[in-house]
Symmetry: C2
Subunit: 195 residues, 2 copies
DNA sequence: CTAGTTATGATATACTGTGTTTCATAAGTC
DNA sequence: GACTTATGAAACACAGTATATCATAACTAG
């Protein structure tokens, strides 16, 4: 974000165009069929310019996805920092916000889950969210343990699994239902810490 | 399995050598650095032979992984078909078997989770296991519903997430602990069907 | 064991996509 | 307005993929 401001306007322009191009092309032709040439042509940017900004297609894709999905993570953080609510309320409200965000950026999330080249970006995102979840667990139960780390990871895998499933099924059960299921399972996972 | 028998001995030999070669090379050099040439050289097989059996590196990889991990799935199926045990017993015994299998084939599972080209194979495996889980749910609670489909998917995502995490952490908490955690979370997910 | 079939190996070759170099020009910065 | 720098254009080297041909070795069926 801060680094972004330090960039030359021309650089910002090039990156933005390349980012928009790769997303459009993946949606049109699929991840496997895109090339650097096709990306630069679509972006109306010189072929060499690509290499001045990114070292590979996957790096460009990772940059685009993380740029966008950071919004979800920040939202998540704010939700966690609101200490006035109870645990269940926390999950409910959060669930609605999350699935709203997914619905608004469905294309990006779909690419995140289906493109092999997005695997690294997906893992980074998961790890980031898991760290937030661990902090959350530590607030409820004092002390730190491997078990909480595992539970946090299970929570994240479940969340991302629900999102992926929802997108693959045409966002079929409505947002509220998904948020409800998310809440139930998240609470269930959290409570299994006792055992 | 049946198709395998129909193959010429030379074909079986070639495929086996190629399969062993790609696994060895991925472990040595990482997925990103392998080429068809390096695979065929390691397998001591002609370059063209590769194309006579597989249309891409990812197809070869998918074939190898699914061939091996089918063992886990079959084990899973047998476990499900044993109707004499209660639900918790089912999960406990299953958990031990699963993590034993993972420990024995750690290399393959590691490749399955870290190689971008294995993403398709991973998804096929998950889907397969999820279908088994749905049948299991339908045995406990009559009738079918989208919710059970979602719970089955959550169960699978949690299982694979635990395996991935365990491998990334050097199989740190011992097998029994992981099996116990698996059991707890699986039961928790299952019980959230009531809500 | 033999005759017929077929997969393999070796070689040559075409092609696509990646990545780099050079230099003039346009666009940004201060 | 002077300086700096990113961009565009073109040529190029190169790696990796993919196919074609043909002689040879290995397998199968009888």
């Amino acid at each position: 974000m801060q680094i972004e401001k330090q960039l030359d306007k021309r650089q910002q322009r090039s990156r933005k165009l390349l980012g928009e191009a790769i997303i459009a092309l993946i949606l049109e032709q699929g991840y496997e069929n895109i090339t650097i040439k096709s990306i630069t042509e679509r972006a109306d940017v010189a072929y060499v310019t690509f290499f001045r900004h990114f070292e590979s297609i996957d790096h460009l894709l990772g940059w685009v996805l993380e740029e966008s999905i950071n919004a979800l993570v920040e939202m998540h953080e704010q939700s966690l920092n609101d200490e006035t609510r109870s645990v269940p309320e926390c999950f409910v409200q959060e669930g609605v916000l999350i699935f709203e965000h997914v619905a608004q950026h469905a294309d990006l999330y779909r690419i995140l889950f289906t493109s092999p080249g997005a695997l690294a970006a997906l893992k980074r995102t998961k790890t980031h969210v898991a760290k937030l979840a661990i902090e959350e667990f530590q607030r409820w139960v004092e002390g730190t343990s491997l078990v909480y780390e595992i539970l946090a990871m299970s929570y994240v895998n479940n969340l991302f699994g629900l999102i992926e499933w929802w997108l693959e099924h045409g966002m079929q059960p409505d947002l509220a239902t998904m948020a409800h299921i998310y809440t139930q399972i998240s609470l269930a996972i959290r409570q299994s810490a006792a055992a």
